[in-house]
């Protein structure tokens, strides 16, 4: 939208010039926060497997919102209890899922009116701990954590 000297300028001429200049910033969904999944693997664990094989600690490099947790198992034939915690969580995430033979993507944790979204600050340690009734030695178990945050200035 251009204006010229000498023309009668109506308000929409100027308003639209300003509005259209920023339109691609406003409409591009690339500026939404981006998410990545952090898969935490516990392969070949069975009932009776002991620490440290049943837990993993991750130090986080940025402020993240944890919005989703997925329990995924291949040939993991048992009931799995998963906790996601760090010392700052008021309500740690605790999940139980019954997996089975074949590949099972179990019910997920996601943000609802009763499941809060969790904020993990930069430098905090997330601990994922699992226990299982599985007795199949060759199996996979993945706890995928869905973190998202906006882009940063540093």
């Amino acid at each position: 939208m251009s204006i010229t000297n000498g023309q009668t300028i109506v308000a929409s001429d100027i308003n639209s010039a300003f509005t259209s200049a920023l339109s691609s910033l406003r409409t591009d969904n690339a500026y939404l926060p981006t998410l990545f999944w952090l898969p935490v693997r516990f392969d070949n664990i069975v009932s009776g497997t002991t620490s440290p094989w049943t837990s993993q600690e991750i130090v986080l490099p940025d402020d993240y919102l944890l919005a989703d947790v997925a329990i995924l198992g291949g040939e993991h034939n048992g009931t799995v209890t998963v906790s996601v915690n760090n010392s700052a969580l008021i309500v740690p995430i605790s999940m139980t899922a019954t997996l089975g033979s074949n590949y099972v993507a179990a019910t997920r944790y996601y943000t609802t009116t009763t499941n809060p979204v969790h904020l993990f600050l930069k430098g905090s340690i997330v601990t994922v701990t699992v226990s299982t009734t599985n007795v199949v030695a060759t199996s996979t178990l993945t706890v995928s954590l869905g973190f998202f945050s906006k882009r940063r200035t540093a």
Binding site: G6, A17, S24, T34, P52, G74, T140, G146
Partner: protein, 337 residues
């Protein structure tokens, strides 16, 4: 970062056009562009396990088995590295170097970067270094005699969206200020709007900020292994204020001895249909191979606002071995934006 303190002014026909108000709006736009431009970095965290299933690696394993290759599609800064866990016995160190030279440590650092002990703890390497775009670096556990227990290398990664678009800086727009002392000139007004629009376009073109996901997806498997052990679902995002699109896939595998086999990693729909995103790595009388693929992009964003996505809408990540010769381990890196 500049703070936006006001919304743009809406002008109304019939009012006097005040140069100060026009200038306020221009400044608002400059602030908005600057605020977005300065948000250029994305951070992610990955974990590399130095065990296969619960089989720990030892000094007797070949180099490919004792290490992980990491290829950067863009300049990737490793901000910190952690070794979480312990050795079961012996002594070892963790080195990182350019895989193409085999000995060159990243610029500015000296190996070893980490030294695990036989006590379960977390070792921290706090110096940052860059893995240049297109380079492959090797993270290798090595020692005269050692057996690793559960030992994970955790990397903090940072990418810069400007790098991926081929530039390190974006020019901030310059505009002619309007004041009480200057008449409102249409030519200057148009030039100012054009300058701001151009800056916005450059910013939009550099919109991708890559994040990284890493998973060791298969251990000790052949063409007869159960496919359920060689897959991992990629759930869609539940929260619709975020987004995730797979931009690139990298797969690396290794064998215990020289072999000539192919391992394929692919992103499929939950129903098993191809998405076109797959990478096939082949050894040629060697113990290690990598491959990558970048298109088509696979969008994992939520399909329905505010609704948890069912597993039927997942994608699945798979690896497969075309040979009866066992693959010691295969690992996949996904780059998303």
């Amino acid at each position: 970062m500049r703070i936006q303190t006001q919304a743009p002014i809406q002008f109304a026909t019939g009012q006097l056009l005040d140069p100060n108000k026009v200038q306020e709006n221009q400044q608002y736009m400059l602030d908005a562009v600057a605020a977005v431009t300065e948000k250029r970095y994305a951070h992610s965290v990955i974990s590399m396990p130095f065990y296969r299933g619960i089989t720990a690696c030892t000094q007797a394993d070949n180099q490919a088995t004792r290490s992980f290759l990491f290829t950067a599609p863009d300049n990737v800064m490793v901000e910190r590295a952690f070794l979480v866990g312990a050795l079961a016995s012996g002594a070892a160190v963790l080195n990182v170097y350019n895989a193409s030279t085999g000995t060159t440590a990243p610029t500015g650092i000296a190996n070893p970067i980490l030294t695990p002990t036989t006590t379960v703890d977390t070792q921290v390497f706090a110096q940052s270094f860059i893995i240049p775009a297109g380079s492959t670096y090797r993270f290798e556990l090595t020692g005269t005699t050692f057996t690793a227990s559960k030992l994970d290398l955790v990397l903090h990664l940072r990418t810069d969206r400007f790098n991926l678009s081929g530039t390190d800086t974006l020019t901030e727009p310059t505009v002619t200020p309007f004041t009480e002392a200057t008449s409102l000139d249409a030519v200057a007004f148009n030039a100012n709007v054009t300058a701001i629009t151009s800056a916005v376009s450059s910013n939009t073109a550099a919109a991708r900020a890559l994040r990284c996901q890493f998973v060791q997806l298969g251990t000790n498997f052949t063409n007869a292994s159960d496919a359920d052990l060689l897959r991992m679902n990629l759930p869609r995002i539940t929260n619709t204020i975020a987004r995730e699109t797979i931009y690139r896939i990298d797969v690396t595998f290794c064998t215990a001895a020289n072999s000539t086999i192919t391992v394929t990693a692919a992103v499929l729909t939950e129903a098993g249909a191809a998405t076109g995103l797959s990478a096939a790595a082949s050894t040629a009388a060697s113990t290690e191979a990598s491959a990558s693929d970048t298109f088509p992009a696979v969008d994992l964003s939520s399909a329905t606002a505010g609704v948890c996505q069912t597993t039927a809408s997942d994608y699945r990540l798979t690896v497969s071995n075309g040979s009866a010769t066992a693959v010691v381990k295969a690992y996949v890196t996904l780059w998303t934006y």
